[in-house]
């Protein structure tokens, strides 16, 4: 009899087989651990319904919501909210929802609603809101409009924001400008810009009055500063419209006036937004467009003697009171969430006026409600919150367009805008091919929606009636 090969001995030995089987079983158990726990497990009958809540905020904003979650959990015993701040929530929520394992509720940006809604990734909330006695008329119009898409309600608001001009009073004083008087027209802003400009002996730029690329989050929105719209319900995007061209020509004037290489070099030296190296705090840019959240960062990162003011950002349109972008943070219930009714109970709790005010005070933001309590503004630590509230109540706010290709459109316009700021470009040469490409993408997405539109609307209506 020939001896058994050594490598077969490893397999054939009963002890080894047992170890192998044990290892396989452990792997199987570990893999099972990845699956979603079922609520029908051995939980006692009186156990509370546990809701998973993913929130995009981190830092002090996350803590403000955590306080509200803790109070909700303490206020009753039927529902327990498990709160988890999540970065890059738009991607993680997409994958979790596609994988059939979404959280019960999520805090996202309102501009994501059209793409999530049209892809059937959210739960319509109309009937739940009706039953909870929530009415759109109680909210700021732009906030409630941002929560709706295709005739349905998809979210409840938490903290909205509008943008305004922030200016550095010390820099104004140094430039011989009145520190209490901000520019009121775009032409005046550019005149101030020239006065605020500082170069060293070698001609290197040390300070700009204003840069349309700072902070660079809203480059596509500049069209509204020139009286144009981001999107037209009939014609779709108009990336090559006259107002967009005007905005681009304005951006193109910067490299001509200040030198493309120097502008780039100066921008390279700008530190990250949430740091003491923020160019507004270091005095490298004297005027920026920002929202009410800027107050928190000024308090945390700007020098102790930093003096600043807030006013409507000037518009290029004669007679216009100003230009402002309106945004809102919202709460949604992803499609496939296990406990939508309980999740809405928590959302309605957050939307109680006293709780919304508490959250907005803690996050130093505006209230989404039309009416606020008498001491909301006196309790608010942002000294300019009334100015923001006045802007939020004004006409002509610009908000994201209700289309699913917004991210792509914004990226394309940002790229073209940055090119314009590199100098020697013609606005129409950049915008005309971009419009053709984006329009094709828009029509593709529209065709995708048209293929499922009737079914979706029917499903949502049925859901609303249940």
């Amino acid at each position: 009899m020939s001896p058994r090969p050594q490598h077969l001995l490893f397999i054939a030995s009963p002890g080894r087989l047992f170890v192998l089987a044990l290892a396989l079983a452990a792997t199987a158990v570990a893999l099972c651990g990845c699956a979603r726990p079922t609520t029908a497990s051995a939980a006692p009958a009186v156990a509370p319904v546990v809701l998973d809540y993913w929130e995009k905020w981190t830092g002090f904003e996350a803590e403000a919501m955590r306080a509200l979650v803790d109070d909700f959990n303490a206020s009753q015993s039927r529902i327990r909210v498990r709160y988890l701040p999540v970065s890059q929530i738009e991607r993680k929520l997409l994958l979790a929802t596609a994988g059939g394992n979404p959280p019960d509720l999520a805090g996202i940006y309102a501009y994501l609603l059209p793409v999530y809604a049209e892809n059937n990734a959210l739960t319509p909330l109309d009937s739940l809101a009706r039953r909870a006695g929530l009415h759109g008329a109680d909210y700021l119009p732009f906030v409630w409009a941002a929560c709706r898409h295709q005739g349905f309600l998809w979210a409840l608001p938490t903290t909205p924001a509008v943008t305004a001009l922030h200016w550095n009073k010390k820099a104004f004083r140094e430039a011989g400008l009145d520190p209490e008087r901000p520019p009121r027209t775009l032409a005046e802003l550019e005149a101030f810009n020239d006065k605020l400009l500082v170069r060293d002996a070698d001609g290197r730029l040390l300070r700009l009055g204003h840069s349309p690329q700072e902070p660079g989050w809203w480059n596509a929105y500049w069209v509204a500063c020139f009286g144009g719209a981001l999107w037209d319900p009939a014609a779709g995007f108009r990336a090559d419209g006259p107002e967009m061209q005007a905005a681009f020509r304005w951006a193109g004037s910067y490299p001509r006036r200040f030198g493309a290489h120097e502008l780039q070099r100066l921008r390279n030296g700008f530190g990250s937004f949430a740091s003491p190296q923020n160019p507004f705090f270091t005095g490298r840019v004297a005027m920026v467009m920002q929202g009410p959240w800027m107050f928190n960062f000024i308090r945390d990162f700007a020098p102790a003697d930093f003096e600043w003011g807030v006013a409507p950002f000037p518009s290029a349109v004669p007679g216009s009171p100003g230009f402002a972008i309106a945004e809102s943070d919202v709460l949604v219930i992803p499609a496939g969430a296990r406990h939508p009714a309980e999740a809405f109970t928590f959302m309605a709790y957050v939307n109680r006026p006293e709780n919304l005010e508490r959250l907005c005070l803690a996050q130093k933001k505006l209230s989404p409600l039309r009416a606020v309590s008498a001491d909301f503004y006196t309790k608010h630590s942002n000294p300019y919150i009334r100015d923001f509230a006045a802007i939020a109540a004004s006409e002509g706010l610009v908000s994201f367009p209700p289309v699913t290709v917004w991210s792509e459109y914004q990226d394309a316009l940002n790229n073209a805008f940055d090119l314009m700021c590199l100098g020697d470009r013609d606005a129409l040469d950049l915008l005309a091919p971009l419009q053709a490409r984006l329009r094709e993408q828009e029509l593709r997405k529209q065709a995708r929606w048209e293929r499922v539109r009737a079914t979706r609307l029917e499903e949502w209506k049925r859901h609303d009636q249940n």
Binding site: S2, I11, L94, N119, A335, D411, L419
Partner: protein, 305 residues
């Protein structure tokens, strides 16, 4: 087949089964799914709607796709030679029996241990056009040349000037050649001493010994590193993604094929089109790798043959 052979076959299959299962589940299945979904309009959240070859037709006239292909090939054209010459030169230097050799070997390998994100953030600062360390070295040199030539010469804005972003990425990428250096060093230490001794007896100069002994003996290693470098260069994504803060760079100068697949899939919810792009990227990488394989094989010398 005898009983022993059957048992050996069964044991062999059992031992390769983890790899085979991994390949089937994590490679072949996703590849087949990607091929299927590339024929669909698919946003991940909704059921795919089959639209035939529409995604591929769109791809042919998509200027961003072509820009990503050009950017990728531009990068690979420089990255592959640099990825061969720099580590080979370093390995040759580190192969000399000099004091501190082990320290230098460690130093050159260290950057390979850094996570890619740390590396990207580090190079973001090094390459900063205003306050970066590289430009602080270049600035005095530029000023000296400016005075000499009479024309202003300025250090580049590496990451904000479209003309300089790809060279910046090449510089940052060249820092992680530690793995290749280790493989070249192992190859160099495998070259039999007697071949050098024979060449020396025949009167070969150091350059001739390198040309006629080192290079042929090292050719399988060069070939391996070359093929891996081609594949890596065509799939470039991580470092450029971090350097640009998740973007494509100015004028989309750092939009590579892999970046474009990612953006289409996860930024624009266009998974069907991303699958088509991914499949085309796969075919391009496969073709170029096969080409490199057949060309490289002609110049590869195996001692055992």
């Amino acid at each position: 087949m005898t009983k022993t052979e059957r048992r050996e076959l069964a044991a062999g299959l059992l031992f390769i089964s983890p790899w085979a299962a991994g390949f089937l589940i994590f490679c072949l299945y996703p590849l087949l799914q990607a091929a299927r979904l590339s024929l669909a309009d698919y946003s991940v959240l909704s059921a795919p709607v089959y639209i035939g070859l529409e995604n591929y037709r769109l791809l042919l006239r998509d200027e961003l796709f072509w820009q990503s292909v050009l950017n990728t090939f531009w990068f690979a054209a420089f990255s592959v030679p640099i990825g061969a010459i720099v580590p080979l030169s370093l390995a040759l230097l580190l192969n000399f029996n000099l004091p501190g050799r082990d320290l230098f070997r460690t130093v050159f390998f260290l950057p390979s241990l850094l996570p890619l994100v740390c590396l990207g953030v580090l190079w973001q600062w090094l390459l900063n056009g205003d306050i970066g360390l590289i430009n602080s070295f270049l600035r005095p040199a530029c000023e000296a040349f400016s005075a000499l030539l009479g024309t202003p010469l300025r250090p580049p804005n590496w990451l904000s000037d479209p003309a300089w972003t790809k060279p910046a990425l090449l510089i940052a990428g060249a820092w992680t050649t530690g793995n290749a250096v280790v493989i070249y060093l192992a190859g160099l230490q495998d070259v039999p001493r007697h071949l050098y001794e024979a060449a020396e007896i025949d009167g070969a100069s150091p350059l001739q010994r390198f040309r006629h002994v080192t290079l042929p003996m090292l050719s399988p290693v060069i070939y391996f590193n070359g093929v891996m470098s081609v594949i890596g260069s065509l799939q470039v994504f991580g470092l450029s993604y971090v350097l640009t803060g998740g973007g494509d760079g100015p004028d989309r100068s750092l939009l590579f094929m892999a970046t474009y697949v990612y953006r289409r899939a996860f930024d624009y919810w266009d998974m069907g089109y991303a699958c088509a792009l991914g499949l085309v990227l796969f075919l391009i990488v496969l073709t170029v790798t096969l080409l490199a394989h057949f060309v490289g094989r002609r110049f590869t010398h195996y001692e055992s043959k």
